[in-house]
């Protein structure tokens, strides 16, 4: 197991290098001049422009820019944005916000998705089952930004149940954005749980559990569920990585100062260092949570061993 984890961690190095280079190249390929965009309407003198270009290595070829950037990364230097602020500062400030939002989303995803999926899976064909099927189809087919605006309008503005913007109300401000962010995954978790449970209920070992005279709650809650949850836990785990990086739309709608918002703003300003730094961090989270899932998988299913 230890060797497996070490090998997986070593494998993340080339992935991170490749991912960061790709992102770097894409930002480099964006049309327009970042310095001119920064200046806006006020004309900058040629000397100032040249100084800025030199400071940010903008006159170097792509590969050299990347090498200089990567060299800095290795020394813990994520570079600075155009206002001279260290990217690492931005990350430190905004990561907790994004992490809280992702955590809220995962909690909703697990809580509502699992509950709906389990109830629907036990009573296939019932009214509740059909309700889950219809509502999850609806959620999956509506784009997140539409869902976000509707939720903000209905629950925030009209009913005034939740704040519509910012994180001024502490954890409470994360409830509505968390639900919106979780919505798609929640629907998937509900469906996955339902199908997996329904499938496992037909397994021979469930019949054995009943033949042993166990209570129906034990037959389902222990013998069936433990097996049914293996694919669901895998999905939720991998989804944490995706939620950390996928909050750009939600953070923008609800005006939440997280990493997603920061990337969005940096893309508009063509700030390569900020975009690459944060997105590479997203890639790292994604890889990390996938590794956690793989380890968890072996704990949940004793038939899987990494040797």
């Amino acid at each position: 197991m230890g060797r497996y984890i070490a090998r997986r961690l070593l494998l993340t190095i080339p992935v991170l290098i490749g991912a960061s280079f790709l992102i770097f190249a894409m930002v480099y390929a964006l049309p327009g001049d970042p310095i001119r965009a920064l200046a806006g309407d006020r004309p900058l003198s040629a000397a100032v422009q040249a100084q800025l270009r030199a400071d940010y290595n903008l006159d170097d070829p792509l590969w050299l820019q990347y090498l200089k950037y990567a060299g800095g990364l290795l020394q813990g230097d994520f570079g600075t944005d155009f206002s001279g602020r260290a990217v690492l500062d931005t990350i430190e400030q905004r990561l907790p916000v994004t992490a809280k939002l992702a955590l809220a989303a995962v909690v909703f995803e697990a809580l509502f998705g699992l509950t709906a999926g389990i109830l629907a899976g036990i009573r296939r064909g019932s009214f509740f089952d059909n309700l889950v099927l219809v509502s999850t189809t609806l959620i999956v087919s509506i784009p997140v930004f539409v869902l976000g605006f509707v939720a903000q309008f209905v629950f925030g503005l009209r009913l005034e149940l939740f704040p519509t913007s910012g994180i001024g109300a502490g954890w409470y401000s994360y409830v509505l954005p968390g639900l919106v962010l979780a919505s798609l995954s929640l629907a998937y978790v509900a469906r996955l749980t339902r199908t997996s449970l329904a499938e496992n209920l037909r397994q021979d070992y469930v019949r054995t559990a009943r033949a042993k005279g166990l209570k129906p709650s034990v037959v389902i809650g222990k013998h069936t569920l433990r097996n049914s949850l293996i694919p669901v836990v895998t999905f939720i785990g991998a989804d944490i990585g995706a939620l950390m990086g996928g909050a750009i739309v939600t953070e923008s709608i609800f005006n939440i100062p997280g990493l997603g918002r920061a990337v969005y703003d940096a893309v508009l300003r063509q700030e390569g260092a900020v975009v690459v730094g944060i997105v590479t961090l997203f890639v790292f989270f994604y890889i990390f949570f996938n590794l956690v899932v793989d380890i968890l998988y072996a704990l949940l299913d004793p038939r899987i061993r990494y040797d």
Binding site: D204, R207, T208, R210, G213, K215, R226, P302, R303
Partner: protein, 360 residues
Amino acid sequence: MITTSTALSHTPSSPAPLPGTPVLEVEDLSVEFRTPKGVVKAVNGISYEVHPGETVAILGESGSGKSVSVQAVMGILDSPPGFVTGGRVLFEGRDLLGATSEEQRAVRGPGMSMIFQDALSALNPVFTVGHQIAEMFRAHRGSSRKEAKEAAIELLDRVRIPAARERVNAYPHQFSGGMRQRVMIAMALALDPKVLIADEPTTALDVTVQAQIMELLKDLQRDTGMGLLLITHDLGVVNEVADRVLVMYAGSVVETGTVDEVFSDPSHPYTEGLMASVPAVEDKGKRLQPIVGTPPDLARIPSGCSFHPRCPRRVLEGAPPGRNCREDVPLLLPVGSVGRASACHYREEVLRARSAGTPA
């Protein structure tokens, strides 16, 4: 398919009906599956009883309703689509089908327990075998974790699994097929059941292991005095271990009696056909005689006698009144010695033809 693991031999076993009250009585049990494509009549009014210490075999091809009938007896039929449509299941005189689900549950384990064909899929892959055995004690007797585990080790030892103390923490996939079936048996025997139902316990195993498992079941039965209800399609297994046999065809019992009588002098053409399909040493070099045709679709059971389309002895033209094989349903009626019965209009003739043809 009916298969044999060993050639039939005529070993005398105790043929006399056992005295005393049966521990399990099944009366006129019927089960059907309601599917979107129509109603499948899987079991059509079968009756039998199991006495303490006795081994009763239910013999039949796949799809003859033998597994479904015992699932209904255990109360573990998948419902829907399966429904018990009639009959009674008396365990120690109490009707289980009329009992509450809680009362039924209390019987499963300490009263009746069951082992299944494929132990790999019948054991839960994510729990250790020790945990799965210990669960019986924890659920039914409220034993502590430690007591239950000790009891599980004892049981593994009793079914002759080597190094039981270490193996108790292993998972089902870490055992061989035969050892896994022993684990199943240990689990089923945990609470000293009065009746053990074995649904094709040796089908998934190779021949040498089959013999060991049957041997083990016989030994355990001798020690505990439990009744054994054996579901199988293996004539050899029936011949070796069973006292009485029920031959099932298309959801009905077509013949019943002691194994010796039924096997040596069948009184139903289906049983006759089964015996003719068994390889015997003296028939070396000759072709086996299979039963022609295939078992019927249970959604469309043939009229009259369900076996008539495949029966070499059927009488369709000029049959005596009430004995036309295509029109009249034969009842399971006594034939020959006490306790024997056959569901054939011409059971006496079948029996006489056999006795006349074979040297005494």
